[in-house]
């Protein structure tokens, strides 16, 4: 089986997406407004609810959600370029060796 790994990956991702859609449908019906927030901030809420005040705050924060998204995409893009470059380079070497 040449594509066994790929098939397993597709099935797992499909199940994952299916679970999300199912869960999301339930949450939307209940009309919950704070759904799908970050797990980090949920933990922070628990800590703050016990009266803890963070003693230090970030030196710089992205001024808006859009700019935060920009830096997240940039992070993914930097990684993706490196991965794509080297996998392409290795493929090229292999092709050249076969000829």
């Amino acid at each position: 089986m040449k594509y066994k790994g790929e098939i397993i990956a597709i099935i797992v991702i499909a199940v994952f997406v299916g679970l999300f859609l199912y869960e999301n449908a339930i949450i939307q019906q209940q009309g919950a407004e704070e759904a799908w927030g970050g797990a980090d901030s949920r933990a922070a809420e628990i800590i703050e609810s016990e009266g803890y005040e963070p003693w230090y705050s970030p030196i710089w924060e992205p001024p808006s959600g859009e700019i935060e998204t920009l830096f997240f995409s940039l992070q993914a893009a930097i990684g993706a370029v490196i991965i794509g470059y080297f996998f392409g380079y290795w493929r090229g070497i292999q092709k050249a060796q076969k000829q």
Binding site: A39, A43, W55
Partner: protein, 231 residues
């Protein structure tokens, strides 16, 4: 897995810096040796680091109705061991702390420990054990990557529980509460990450088996067997 800026009181944030520091120092020494002895593995190091960059930028929804992200450290831990991985983890966490205000500089020691050290140690241990007992290589890689991801969040829960023991249940009660948020959210993400890393490992075996043999991740016989069965 980020503990947010300012969310670890003294002495905990200092303690985690002190615990993480020796791993980073050994990592730098190993990195220097890798650069000197195995120059052909540097592109692979870049790719392993890039996977941490990509996967830790993906905030994915999970079954608990909140979002979290994979860590991507499993691949690097399998290939280069936990010490070098701690350096890669530090780079990613610094990026996120400085540009995204995710995590923080004061909590960096704790975050490096959970994502860059504890998770990779688990991945490396599982890979070594699985490799020696002759378990299927891709199953081993899946287990190593998935459990590294999950264990990172278990450690984060533990770090928070130590700093904030609950009034009624103590450290353990608090650990269960944080674990319910972090580790539970993480289970499906860990499975997805494990499958993706196993697939990537297959591509690396197909393209650069020579480097894997050089840095002693696989033996030549294992490579021949894996390539024989997939083509």
């Amino acid at each position: 897995m980020h503990i947010m800026e300012g969310f670890l009181p003294s002495p905990w944030w200092e303690i985690w810096f002190v615990i993480s520091a020796p791993f980073l120092i050994v990592g730098l020494i190993q990195l220097k040796r890798l650069f000197a002895e195995h120059r052909d593995s540097i592109p692979l190091l870049a790719v392993a680091g890039a996977f941490i960059f990509v996967l830790s930028s993906l905030k994915l929804p999970s079954v608990t109705g909140s979002c979290s992200h994979p860590t991507g450290t499993g691949l690097s831990a399998i290939l280069f061991g936990p010490f070098i991985t701690s350096i890669l983890g530090l780079i990613v966490l610094l990026y996120q702390a400085l540009f995204l205000a995710h995590g923080g500089l004061t909590t960096l020691g704790a975050n490096v420990f959970s994502m860059g050290i504890a998770g990779p140690l688990v991945a490396w241990g599982i890979y070594q054990a699985g490799n020696r007992t002759g378990l299927n290589t891709y199953v081993t890689v899946f287990l190593a990557a998935a459990l590294a991801d999950l264990f990172t969040y278990v450690v984060t829960s533990f770090q928070l529980a130590l700093a904030f023991p609950s009034a009624t249940g103590g450290i353990f009660g608090s650990f269960l509460a944080f674990g319910a948020i972090f580790a539970l959210t993480q289970i499906p993400l860990a499975i997805v990450e494990g499958v993706i890393i196993a697939l990537v490992f297959k591509y690396i075996v197909a393209l650069r088996p020579d480097v894997l043999v050089n840095i002693r991740v696989l033996t030549q016989e294992q490579v021949d067997r894996l390539r024989g069965s997939s083509s």
